[in-house]
Symmetry: C2
Subunit: 143 residues, 2 copies
DNA sequence: GTGATATTGATAATTATTATCAGTACTGGT
DNA sequence: ACCAGTACTGATAATAATTATCAATATCAC
């Protein structure tokens, strides 16, 4: 429930309103521990709130992102997904090219190495996105 | 000129034809040492060959990719770019979020670390895409 | 409450890519 | 050379996802 508060706080600090649709979309997203696309979240929202439109879902996701509560994930398949970011440490993804299954991966060494690379070129790092594509164990067996 | 031959060879091995439009698009792409989007390449092609359509450029890029001559690059800004892949070692990208400038980066250590991670989860690696986003030295000074 | 204004939802617009398809141009066999 | 079969092309339409528009509505400070 804490992240819900954080969202309200964020809206307030920006002079934005905690409207009913915004709160409802946010609640449903925050309750769903999955990587959802805008369309998927829209479907979830619709189960409870038939009156909420796609645009509002899309806009709310953008706000959640700015509030630091979610993060865009791009698996390169044409649709963007969003994952939780609040109290969820940074990580990268290992995606199966056959079935779409993925696991979240993290390595401190890998992060440090990246920092070094960035420094070398005089850049100031903001974020990074690493997606590794391959075939998952299940799909390897199927073949 | 060698990559041109390789393309012809690839087409032949697939039972495809080395048509004039295909060769022309390929030649212009291979001569341009830049990361181009389909639209940009289309414009370049149009300067020399007014009769070639967008679809052909798009299709030829796909073929070049299958031939191992180019590689898709997705900076997450909505348009896909293509870069040379033949005799161009694998590398990742460090992209400036202010001006779009980027540098190609590579680290053997980083690659090895990734291999370990993949192995750990039983996946069979195919490719990976690492984009680091930050602010380049020039844009840091401007500010 | 009330009024200024942020927000909403339906729809249209946008953007990039991909599919369709009739006409054209190659191909290999004769 | 000719011919039949088929791959290729380019214009256009279709697709897909996101974003902009805008009149109607809801919200919040006062």
């Amino acid at each position: 429930m804490e992240s819900q508060e954080r969202f309200a706080q964020f809206l307030n600090s920006r002079g934005l309103r905690s409207s009913a649709p915004r709160s409802q979309v946010a609640r449903i997203f925050l309750r769903t521990e999955r990587h959802v696309s805008t369309g998927e979240l829209y479907d979830l929202v619709r189960k409870k709130h038939k009156e909420i439109g796609y645009a509002t879902v899309s806009r709310t996701l953008k706000l959640l992102e700015e509030a630091g509560l979610c993060r865009q994930v791009d698996f390169g398949d044409g649709t963007l997904r969003y994952e939780h970011a609040y109290k969820h440490a940074h990580h990268d993804h290992l995606v199966c090219t056959k079935c779409g299954a993925f696991v979240e991966i993290y390595s401190g060494k890998l992060e440090k190495l990246q920092d070094k690379m960035v420094e070398k070129y005089g850049y100031m790092q903001e974020t990074h996105k690493l997606n590794i594509f391959g075939v998952c164990p299940k799909c390897q067996k199927k073949k």
